[in-house]
């Protein structure tokens, strides 16, 4: 039967006639579409399975512990929190929305500073051997230092918590920006620069018209890594400095022994971090000449 599809499907169609040709095409489409759908289904299934496994392990841990809340309990606790994310009941008791925004504002300050200073330094290191030889040892020495080691220096110099956390975010997130920018400048093909030489372009025009567009993808990669680090650092910094912010919120709930809220905060931090990364990837796609 399967060897003669034309004969079995329509008894009137003569093999090779237009009707049977259309039938043939039709069949091929039907074979292709499900395979495309299957891929999507498989990915959806795998993703749900991953989340499901996480919830099951979480539930197992909760069953064997007296203090650890179960997913269900956490979900229940989350409803009032997300029902009123922007309430204000005093300086130390505000909704989670305000806390996230306070943290984002600090990240924006520290990250903005890192961008403004890191990219030009990266340019210098990539373009001039002298700058590279001068700064590379310093970078190699300072880069591996833990974020929290920088906080006391910030507190000492600025005497206030907020500038100290800007400083900590800045110093931790500036390295990937410097290194990626420098690497991008170094990798610019000689041909592009030879074109600039033949045209006798001024150094400023070379930077504006050739080096900057060529390095933009690297800069955006640096920014993506950098904002990830900034978001990691802010939680730790806020735990120590207090005030407002998602990190302080976690510390506060720990003092209240409210484990449910801590787990909710962990999810919030994860989701916000994911969104920041996605945002920068979208910007990178928009500006990168490679993917347009």
């Amino acid at each position: 039967m399967t060897q003669h599809p034309n004969l079995t499907s329509t008894s009137t169609a003569i093999p090779g006639s237009p009707a049977s040709v259309v039938k043939g095409n039709d069949r091929r489409y039907r074979q292709r579409l499900p395979s495309l759908g299957r891929g999507l289904l498989r990915r959806l299934f795998a993703g749900l399975l991953g989340v499901g496994l996480l919830l099951v392990s979480w539930q197992l841990i909760a069953l064997h512990s007296t203090d650890f809340p179960s997913p269900w309990q956490t979900g229940e606790a989350a409803i009032p929190i997300f029902a009123h994310p922007f309430y204000v009941a005093g300086p130390n008791d505000q909704g989670i929305g305000w806390n996230v925004l306070a943290s984002l504002q600090r990240v924006a300050m520290g990250f903005g500073l890192a961008t403004a200073i890191g990219i030009p330094i990266g340019f210098l290191i990539g373009r001039y051997h002298f700058a590279a030889d001068m700064l590379n040892p310093v970078i190699a020495l300072l880069r591996p230092v833990s974020p929290l080691a920088w906080l006391p220096i910030g507190l000492l110099v600025f005497q206030r918590a907020d500038p100290a956390s800007y400083w900590t975010i800045f110093i931790c997130s500036v390295w990937p920006l410097i290194l990626n920018t420098a690497e991008g400048v170094r990798q610019i093909p000689d041909d592009y620069l030879n074109v600039a030489k033949v045209l006798r372009l001024s150094e400023l025009t070379v930077i504006r018209k050739i080096i900057f567009p060529a390095v933009l993808p690297n800069i955006l990669t640096g920014m993506r890594l950098s904002i990830g680090i900034a978001w990691l650092v802010i939680v730790a910094a806020e735990m120590l400095t207090g005030g407002m912010g998602i990190g302080f919120w976690i510390w506060n709930e720990w003092n209240n022994l409210n484990m449910r809220h801590i787990i909710i905060a962990i999810f919030v931090i994860g989701i916000v971090g994911l969104l920041l990364e996605k945002l920068l990837m979208a910007i990178a796609r928009r500006f990168s000449f490679e993917k347009r």
Partner: protein, 264 residues
């Protein structure tokens, strides 16, 4: 060759420092190129053709000897010696139009107004038959088309010499033939001086007034100069049966594969 020379290469030697000591790439090379002449540098890979072209371009400087352009020492690169690079080297984030514009604005900023600049850019794209792709970026056009835009950019600088470093090396035979014809047309119209690096024997004979055959490195030099006395415009089809063309071809082949053959 009684015309006054536009490029003079005088006793040029070039050493490169390598891990195993100094390497003599070019040994005492001298020749003149007359205005409006098309010469090709022919030889095996590594014989110093590109080294020589970079010296004329002013991108590098000779260890000994000197190079003159219009009787003035070449002390750096400049738009009067435009280079067409082998891999087109168009800026990938600019359209074909913008790539040419970068050159035109730099060279003629003070001499042309906006409308003139625009016309001049389009005029040069038309010369290489690329006006239809003005708004396309390099990754949207084929290799041959990229090379055409590269030539348009070079021509737009109104160079006294066009330096071409294996401009068609990466292209297929048919595309290469089209581009060779385009270059011959342009040379006929503008009588541009052209220095062409190639290891394609047909390309050398077809395009050149003189073929400079270089010996193998180290210590490469110009081994033989062959004057191609074929009237222009030249047609590849009719020349294919021409006895003189075949003899010129044989002379280059003889030099490359018998006198200076290279164990590959």
């Amino acid at each position: 060759m009684s015309k006054h020379p536009i490029i003079q290469v005088q006793q040029v030697s070039q050493y490169f420092s390598t891990a195993s000591g100094d390497f003599l790439a070019l040994d005492n090379v001298s020749f003149d190129i007359a205005a409006g002449e098309c010469i090709s540098l022919n030889g095996h890979s590594g014989c110093g053709k590109s080294t020589l072209l970079n010296l004329i371009a002013g991108l590098t400087f000779p260890t000994q000897g000197g190079l003159l352009c219009h009787n003035r020492e070449i002390d750096g690169p400049g738009p009067e010696r435009a280079v067409v690079f082998q891999n087109h080297s168009l800026l990938p984030w600019l359209t074909a139009y913008e790539n040419v514009e970068l050159a035109v604005k730099q060279v003629f900023r003070k001499k042309m107004n906006k409308a003139e600049i625009k016309d001049w850019i389009m005029h040069n794209l038309q010369r290489v038959h690329m006006e239809h792709a003005a708004a396309k970026r390099p990754d949207e056009i084929s290799g041959g088309m990229k090379q055409r835009v590269g030539i348009a950019r070079a021509l737009a600088m109104k160079p006294s010499v066009l330096l071409m470093d294996e401009p068609f090396g990466a292209l297929d035979a048919l595309t290469r033939a089209h581009l060779q014809d385009t270059v011959m047309d342009i040379q006929q119209q503008l009588s541009t001086t052209i220095v062409l690096i190639t290891h394609d024997v047909d390309e050398a004979v077809l395009l050149s007034d003189r073929v400079f055959m270089m010996t193998n490195g180290p210590a490469a030099t110009v081994g033989e100069v062959m004057t191609v006395d074929l009237e222009r415009p030249r047609s590849r089809v009719s020349l294919a049966d021409d006895e003189r063309y075949r003899k010129y071809r044989q002379q280059v082949m003889h030099f490359l594969y018998e006198k200076h053959s290279r164990a590959a």
